[in-house]
């Protein structure tokens, strides 16, 4: 499956119970507290289940996960290197 912003937003609503009405593609998610940092593991598991990729330990940082556009960019990079 190709990851896109809609899939991510749907995951955030369904699984993390986040109100996504004010979330833009570049809105900070973890550093702003929109998503609590405990949900990071759920997000990683979701990405790995939906995309042909594995999140490497050294990739777990805010540069890769702190907004929808960063997550999508990371998934595209990680998927292409698999």
């Amino acid at each position: 499956m190709t990851m896109n912003a809609e899939s991510l937003l749907k995951f955030m609503v369904d699984s993390l119970d986040v109100d996504v009405s004010d979330i833009a593609l570049d809105s900070p998610l973890f550093s702003s507290g929109v998503i609590d940092s405990f949900a990071l593991v759920s997000l990683m598991t979701f990405l790995e289940s939906e995309c042909p990729m594995r999140v490497a330990p050294e990739d777990v940082n805010l540069d890769n996960f702190d907004s929808i556009e960063r997550i999508l960019a990371y998934v595209a990079r990680a998927g292409s290197s698999e």
Binding site: D17, F30, S31, G33, D36, S37, F38, L40, V41, M44, V55, A56, P57, E58, D59, V60, N61, L62, D63
Partner: protein
């Protein structure tokens, strides 16, 4: 520093000179001015930091292969953590085996906790190739900038470079001076003059311990609540002053406090209390732990214990970390439980505000570990703890 006349003299002389200089020379000038001032405070510490500054600037990896980047970054981080441990943690460990260890006489270098964390951040982000182009003067200015050297905030390098104005105007100077005034009023008037008298006869934790049996529970609570408020006013005042002075040079330093005393839960509290330290630990402890273990509970405990030990290498501060981690883990678990049960009513403002006194009480109780446990030992700390719980 604020009681040191040379501190204010350095500002008074260097601010106008800084703005008179061409932009390309300002970072070098401010680094040198900071360096000269800090040398008068703690020459060995500044010389050691000079060594680390050169080492990290020259060796921090940029465009090498991933294996080499990892190796160099790890070596640099190990070197500076060893330096930190030698002064801050080994004396405590040595004291377990020797009544008067040689290491106990080592003087902790000025600002060591702040500059080691800034160096670690720099090495890691440079290895990730996430830092903007910069020269040695920018890096030296970032590390040595004297207003934030001893009490933070722990600024990030890319932010430090990006949030720097090159044109001086009256608004900037007025904002800086106002912020300094806020800090001084907070520290000298509100904390020292208005708050301290409320302690009454129980002015420190030793007196509290001696009179523990005779004191009513509310007085014990009062002592720790007052200590918490004093700590907040004192520390946030230093941050205000540091941020205000930095503004006089055109820098917008990251905020450290955002009304944590009004936090309605412990999660929000930690988004508002010592934000630069918690942000650092989120980036360099919590997330790597998540990457390695995929266990947010373990990652939380690791992060808070690091935060505790960052203050002081002692059992009390480690327990302070455990206490806060327990609070955050319990709170987040409760949030997830509510979400699964669809208990949305509990998110209403009325319910939320009930969390404010609970959060204040919880954060204040952490003082039992950070002050009483280290000063008086675990047994006395537990007695105080039990007393507060009415046991």
């Amino acid at each position: 520093m604020i009681s040191d006349g040379h501190f204010w003299l350095t500002i008074f002389i260097s601010v106008p000179l800084y703005w008179l200089l061409p932009v390309r020379l300002r970072a070098a000038f401010l680094a040198l001015a900071s360096y000269a001032y800090l040398l008068t405070l703690d020459t060995p510490a500044v010389l050691a930091l000079t060594f680390f500054t050169a080492l990290f600037y020259v060796l921090a990896p940029r465009t090498q292969g991933p294996q080499r980047i990892r190796r160099i970054t790890s070596t640099l981080v190990f070197a500076v953590v060893t330096y930190l441990a030698y002064f801050k943690y080994l004396p405590g460990v040595a004291a377990l085996f020797d009544d008067d260890p040689v290491l106990a006489h080592a003087i902790i270098p000025l600002g060591i906790s702040y500059f080691t964390f800034k160096l670690i951040h720099y090495a890691i982000e440079r290895g990730r190739n996430k830092l903007p182009a910069h020269g040695f003067a920018d890096f030296a200015c970032y590390l040595f900038l004297f207003p934030i050297f001893t009490a933070g905030p722990i600024e990030r390098f890319e932010r430090f470079i990006a949030q720097r104005d090159t044109q001086v105007d009256t608004t900037m100077i007025s904002d800086g001076l106002t912020r300094i005034a806020h800090g001084l009023i907070k520290k000298l008037v509100i904390a020292n003059l208005l708050l301290v008298p409320f302690y009454g006869s129980v002015t420190d934790v030793s007196i509290l311990s001696e009179r523990l049996e005779e004191l009513p529970v509310y007085k014990v609570w009062g002592f720790f609540l007052l200590s918490f408020f004093y700590l907040y006013l004192d520390f946030s005042a230093y941050s205000d002053i540091a941020i205000g002075i930095s503004r006089l040079y055109g820098f917008r330093i990251v905020e450290n406090f955002k009304w944590p005393v009004l936090a309605t839960d412990i999660g929000v509290f930690w988004k508002r209390w010592h934000m630069s330290l918690s942000g650092w630990c989120q980036a360099y402890v919590y997330m790597p732990f998540i990457g390695l273990t995929r266990n947010p509970y373990l990652a939380s405990f690791a992060s808070f214990i690091v935060m505790g030990l960052w203050h002081t290498g002692s059992l009390g501060w480690a327990m302070w970390g455990v206490w806060h981690a327990t609070g955050v883990v319990a709170f987040v678990s409760w949030q997830h439980y509510k979400r699964r049960r669809k208990w949305r009513g509990l998110a209403r403002p009325g319910w939320r505000w009930l969390g404010l006194p609970i959060t204040l009480a919880y954060a204040s109780m952490a003082g039992v570990f950070s002050s009483a446990m280290d000063a008086l030992g675990p047994y006395v700390a537990l007695r105080i703890f039990a007393k507060m719980l009415g046991l």
